[in-house]
Symmetry: C2
Subunit: 352 residues, 2 copies
């Protein structure tokens, strides 16, 4: 792990009001992040759940077109929980979430404090009925594009939206069908193509999940899919996925990503962060990677929460030789750490 | 079920020689089918497995670049079989197949008999190391395009290839990353776009698998993904997926597809075939569907084999008011049935 120059729990559920009566904010986490107008704009995932509890029952919220948020109740005996985030029907095998997410705009001048703005991006389509999650923001020209996970009965897809002001948003539809998460757009065209990192999650797993690259002429249609031959360290054997959208660094594209350790018991391992260096012209080529995590849960707000032992980087801002990394902590909070750029780059070993 | 005018087991494993010493042909099934030069060309999936058996061990074949077919052995105690097709490591959860597939060309003048040709399409890339499976052929202009499942440690993707003569083939790479199968191309552009049916299979299932539509400007890059709101009958609650590439019929696009019944025990239900009518201009609109299967396992060669109780349609040829449907039977044989076109169309109820 690298020495942290600064660590702070930037945003907590108590900082905001729930979006609907009868709901409470569980989490404010996994922020999309972009620099603009000399400050940082965050698009923070807000997870909410119904306040009501009924003995012997569990519930799952849902966005219903024309009705808003509704709550479906299930007999507790008829479901199985894998972790606090989701349960599965014993009869059908179908998964439901215990919360529903939307995205809210926050502003931060220096990355050391943040205040809520009034922009929000909430479920508004059939493929978003179980929530919109985990924005990753990339500036392309004058427009801010963000990918987000759209969850519904049709699975967890990744969709694309754009905005110029974080007040009004344009939806561009599903770009990677279910299941696919952790989709990041590179901030410039390479060889005439838009490039994305993505992370398919297949039903039948012939190996642990992997990051892939895809290319596009127009951000809407994606192809030329190829596996990114990245990490195979023990701390990334369970899950892996892109974190912050890649940034130019000496030597190529720096990608801060997450991994977790496979739990043979089927539970969830600790989520940590690593770094990759991808070739500047052809990012399918992995030039180097960190053998050890650069960040792991340390602070109390990273070690304990809705899902404990999680640091999940989703955005990066560079300031005077320092990388500010914004991340979800314990699936509950938005955190920020500062790492020396030279420390991050120095921790990357040449790929053997 | 509809009355069959004709049923035949067209191709059996005994009809061909294995492709490598030490292997035996398990199955000749799931044929891609296309009419050309007044006859039918089939691209039949050939599944092979090592002849050798070792007490207390199981094996999985693999294509290794530069080496050809190699066999990996695993201690039987360390794996779990879900069905005869695949086992899973108890330690890692990773899946391996008990066979490896390639595609072979067959010719049929009238659909009532078939003979092996000499063309073949075999694993030749990293993403095909566990086999190439289930071609679906569509003519676009002078070129025959086929999608196929490319299986490897990276999962089960769908890739695209093309040919003009079924002797030499051009690979166009992965078009739908893992897991995605049953990808069919429509035989003409609609509204300026190429159109595909596809069937993502996500790790976390919020509902049973579903068919989706996607569009493309160039067959390589795909987007504008949308769920096809198709069947919800009991016989399609476990699996569903496109079968034969769609054909123009009175009223729209006729799609013959497969479904199976969810087995709450986690096993594999019976595979049957149904029919959909999709809008001729906008195939995302389902106009009608068969309430009951139009085909189910009846003949002995459909009821018993490597995986019993399977009819799995993959190609259709129209002749004088008759649909010849080519299909995999019991995951072992290639079968053909003939149904009256009017019977098929008459079985389709208007979608409510």
């Amino acid at each position: 792990m690298l020495q942290r120059l600064f660590t702070k729990c930037l945003i907590s559920p108590k900082d905001i009001e729930p979006s609907a009566a009868g709901f409470e904010v569980v989490s404010t986490f996994n922020p999309g992040v972009i620099e603009r107008d000399g400050e940082v704009t965050l698009l923070v995932r807000v997870a909410e759940r119904p306040v009501e509890e009924r003995a012997g029952w569990v519930c799952s919220p849902r966005y219903a077109p024309g009705e808003g948020l509704v709550v479906d109740w299930f007999e507790a005996d008829g479901v199985v929980f894998q972790d606090p985030r989701a349960f599965e029907s014993r009869e059908t095998g179908n998964v439901r979430l215990t919360f529903i997410s939307h995205l809210r705009v926050f502003r931060s001048v220096d990355g050391h404090s943040a205040e809520a703005g009034d922009g929000r991006f909430a479920p508004a389509a059939e493929e978003e009925e179980y929530g919109v999650e985990d924005a990753r923001i990339t500036r392309l020209g004058e427009t801010f594009y963000f990918t987000y996970v759209a969850v519904s009965r049709h699975g967890a897809c990744t969709a694309l939206a754009s905005t110029k002001d974080f007040q009004t948003f344009t939806r561009h539809g599903v770009i990677f069908p279910s299941e696919n998460k952790d989709v990041l757009l590179f901030p410039e065209k390479l060889g005439g193509d838009y490039v994305a990192l993505h992370r398919p999650n297949p039903r039948y797993q012939f190996s642990p999940p992997e990051m892939w690259l895809a290319k596009s002429p127009d951000l809407i249609h994606w192809g030329r899919h190829a596996v990114l031959h990245a990490g195979q360290s023990p701390w990334e054997t369970g899950r892996i996925g892109g974190g912050a959208p890649p940034v130019r660094a000496p030597g190529g594209w720096l990608e801060i990503y997450h991994g977790n350790t496979r739990d043979p018991g089927g539970g969830v391992g600790q989520y940590v962060a690593g770094a990759l260096m991808l070739d500047g012209e052809n990012p399918a080529v992995v030039l180097g990677r960190t053998q050890e995590p650069i960040m792991a849960p340390e602070a109390e707000f990273e070690r304990s929460g809705f899902l404990s032992q999680v640091v999940f980087p989703t955005g990066l801002v560079e300031r005077d030789g320092v990388y500010q990394i914004f991340y979800g902590a314990a699936d509950t909070y938005t955190g920020v750490v500062e790492l020396r750029r030279d420390d991050v780059l120095g921790a990357i070993d040449v790929m053997r």
